[in-house]
Structures are given as structure tokens and as C-alpha cells.
């Protein structure tokens, strides 16, 4: 796994973005960038050449679920690995996210170990 990969963290709460950023830094990923909802994330994704997207679900403006569907529908972005980190814990939602093409799903509150495991798993699969 490339530790220099460019990661976009999307969450409407600055604190949660900071926590994820710190955890990613502890895992050796320093090339992280932030957006506060889907609408601000899209232009960044379009031009930023990102390698990985970590997004919350529940955000004003554009939700992470809509962002997921947007990315999968965009020919230039559709292969971008997406990890959802969210408090949304309804089974229906997880199934919907899986069907929409999410690569990993973490429910909040979560631990550093879970984040590490999911990221490793996602890139293990992507590289196959």
C-alpha cells in the first residue's frame, strides 16, 4: 500500500475530520485533505487526483450516500476506493451502501485498529 496516496476526508464535523486525519497520520498517511460535505468534495475529487475517499453519510448539502452514487456514476472517478465512516447503523442503509458500491463501512464510534484493518483490506482487494 502506498503511504503517500492522496486521501480526501469528508465529514461535516471538523472534530471528526481531525480525528480521522490524526488516525491516518498515525498509520503513516500524511497526504490527507478535507471537505465538509459532498458538494465541496466533488470539485476537489474532479481535479485533485485522489487515491482514496473516506466519507461520512449524514451531512447537510450533499450526503455521503449521494456522493458515493455520484462517484460511481462518474466515468473518471468510478474506480476510486471509498470507505464510509458513519453513525448510520441501520441494516438497510449498510445494504444500500454496499449495493451502491462502497468498498468498506465503519460504524461510529470506531477504533484506530478497525480503521487500519478496513483500509488494509480495501487496498488488498483493489490491488488484486
Amino acid at each position: 500500500m502506498n503511504k503517500d496516496m492522496k486521501i480526501l476526508i469528508v465529514d461535516d464535523f471538523a472534530t471528526m475530520r481531525r480525528i480521522i486525519k490524526n488516525l491516518l497520520r498515525d498509520l503513516g498517511f500524511n497526504n490527507t485533505h478535507e471537505a465538509d460535505d459532498g458538494l465541496t468534495a466533488i470539485p476537489m475529487l474532479n481535479t485533485g487526483n485522489y487515491d482514496f475517499l473516506v466519507t461520512d453519510w449524514n451531512m447537510p448539502g450533499m450526503t455521503g450516500f449521494d456522493l458515493l452514487k455520484h462517484v460511481r456514476a462518474d466515468p473518471d472517478l468510478k474506480n476510486l476506493p471509498i470507505l464510509m465512516v458513519t453513525a448510520e447503523s441501520k441494516r438497510e442503509q449498510i445494504v444500500a451502501a454496499a449495493q451502491a458500491g462502497v468498498n468498506g463501512y465503519i460504524v461510529k464510534p470506531f477504533t484506530a485498529a478497525v480503521l487500519k484493518e478496513k483500509i488494509e483490506k480495501i487496498f488488498e482487494r483493489v490491488q488484486k
Binding site: 480525528i19 448510520e88 449498510i94
Partner: protein, 262 residues
């Protein structure tokens, strides 16, 4: 609010008593009397209806006015402040407080990380040198250097341990938001209960109006919560009571995803 609650019963008594009389009059063929009696029943119904609507309007007005009065008292301000606006302010206050507490904590943790790292790195280097000393691999000049480094390391460790424990205290203090937000949340819960009680009272009064007018309302008890999987709601509370299927932890999520072929 309930001082006139006997009114609809009076109307019902009149209606019940008049029915027999009405049948009797019609059987006797006195149609004019029958029409007059129907008119009397109708007048009584209208009178009650107006009274009930008036009562409903007054209750609604009282409920709104009470909110404003209590809101003003709670906010302790001159200008009219509805209690709802006050509740919104309280909830915004919680967002600010938790935001600040989280940032304060993360700032202190950011300060602690490099300190722990540099202490660990220097200790590891010294241990290596120390090993050489034990194995008598060290030249006298190197030993004098080590001697000084150990001295400065000890001074540094003492100092940095003080900084770390100071930061830990601040991290502990930053958790005081729990107490403050808890109190605010309790106030908002009380408000929600008050609003609910008043709405129930309004519904009770309104139902009497419905009874007199004969308006049929749909059975609201049967309504089940419509869960739209696309609409996020944050952490699910009372899932079991609401009949919502949620995952209890990350293992559950992983099981669900692997059952979908992930």
C-alpha cells in the same frame, strides 16, 4: 381548559331524549312539529360546536402565550423569546461546547505525541550506548559524552513528564462539557414533554369538536414509522421499540457485508 367539558354530553342527552319524541311526532303525522324539533336539535348542536371551537381557539392561544412567557423567564431577557428559540440556542450551545472540548483535547494530544516520541527515541539511543558501556566497548571520551547525555536526558525527562501530566490534567478538565451539556439536554427534554402534554390537551379538546360535527378522523394509532433507508438520521435511538433493524457493532457490519459477498 376543561371547565366546559360537560357541554357535548348535554347535547348528547338532548339528542337521545329527542329521538323518541321525534319518532312519536312523525308517527302522529305532525310534520311541522317534527321539523321544529329537528331545528331545536340543530340549534343546540351549533351552539355547542361554536363553544367548542371557541374553547379550542382559546386553548391554542393560551398554549402559545405560555410558551412565550416561559421562554422569556428562562432566557431572563426583556424581548419576547419563544421557548423554542431558546431550545435551539441551548442545542447550539451544546454543539459549540462539545466542539471546543474536542479541539482542546486534540490540541493537547497533538502536543503530547512529539514529546513521547522524542523521549522514546533518546531513551533507545542511550540504551544502545549503555549496552556498549556494559560490554566495556566504550572509549573514555565516549563515556564522558554519554555521562553528559544521560544527565541532560534525566533533566529533560523530568521536565517533559511535567508537561505531559499537565496536558493530561487539561484533557481531563476538557471533559467537563459532559456535565454542562447533560443539564442543557435535560432542560430541552422537559420542554419537549411540556409541548407534548399541551398538544395532547389540544387534541383532546379538538376531538370533542369532531364528535359534535361528526367529523371522522383517521386512526392515528395505526400509523407506523416509515423508514426511508436513504435518509440519514445519525445514531439510532430506541431501535428495538421502533422496529428498526440496526447493527450493534463493527463485527455485525462485517458479517452483514460478508453475507453480501464483500
Amino acid at each position: 381548559m376543561s371547565d366546559q367539558s360537560e357541554q357535548p354530553e348535554d347535547f348528547e342527552v338532548l339528542l337521545r331524549n329527542s329521538t323518541g319524541e321525534l319518532v312519536e311526532i312523525i308517527e302522529q303525522g305532525a310534520l311541522a312539529d317534527a321539523v321544529n324539533l329537528l331545528q331545536t336539535i340543530n340549534d343546540a348542536r351549533n351552539k355547542d360546536l361554536y363553544q367548542q371551537v371557541g374553547q379550542l381557539t382559546r386553548a391554542l392561544h393560551d398554549a402559545i402565550r405560555d410558551f412565550q412567557l416561559e421562554g422569556r423567564a428562562a432566557a431572563n431577557q426583556e424581548d419576547a423569546f419563544s421557548e423554542m428559540a431558546d431550545a435551539t440556542d441551548r442545542l447550539n450551545y451544546i454543539i459549540n461546547l462539545t466542539h471546543n472540548a474536542a479541539n482542546r483535547t486534540l490540541d493537547k494530544i497533538d502536543e503530547c505525541g512529539p514529546i513521547a516520541n522524542s523521549l522514546g527515541t533518546e531513551a533507545a539511543l542511550l540504551r544502545k550506548e549503555w549496552g556498549r558501556l556494559i560490554r566495556r566497548e566504550m572509549k573514555p571520551q565516549e563515556f564522558r559524552d554519554l555521562y553528559r547525555r544521560i544527565d541532560s536526558f534525566l533533566v529533560d525527562t523530568e521536565l517533559q513528564a511535567g508537561v505531559l501530566s499537565g496536558n493530561f490534567s487539561e484533557i481531563t478538565l476538557a471533559q467537563d462539557y459532559q456535565d454542562l451539556t447533560g443539564q442543557v439536554v435535560k432542560k430541552v427534554i422537559t420542554l419537549v414533554h411540556d409541548v407534548e402534554d399541551r398538544l395532547v390537551e389540544l387534541v383532546r379538546i379538538a376531538s370533542k369538536v369532531d364528535r359534535i360535527t361528526g367529523i371522522q378522523t383517521m386512526d392515528t394509532n395505526k400509523k407506523t414509522e416509515v423508514i426511508d433507508k436513504q435518509i440519514p438520521e445519525g445514531p439510532v435511538v430506541n431501535a428495538e421499540k421502533r422496529g428498526i433493524e440496526i447493527v450493534s457493532d463493527q463485527d455485525d457490519v462485517d458479517d452483514l457485508l460478508s453475507s453480501l459477498g464483500f
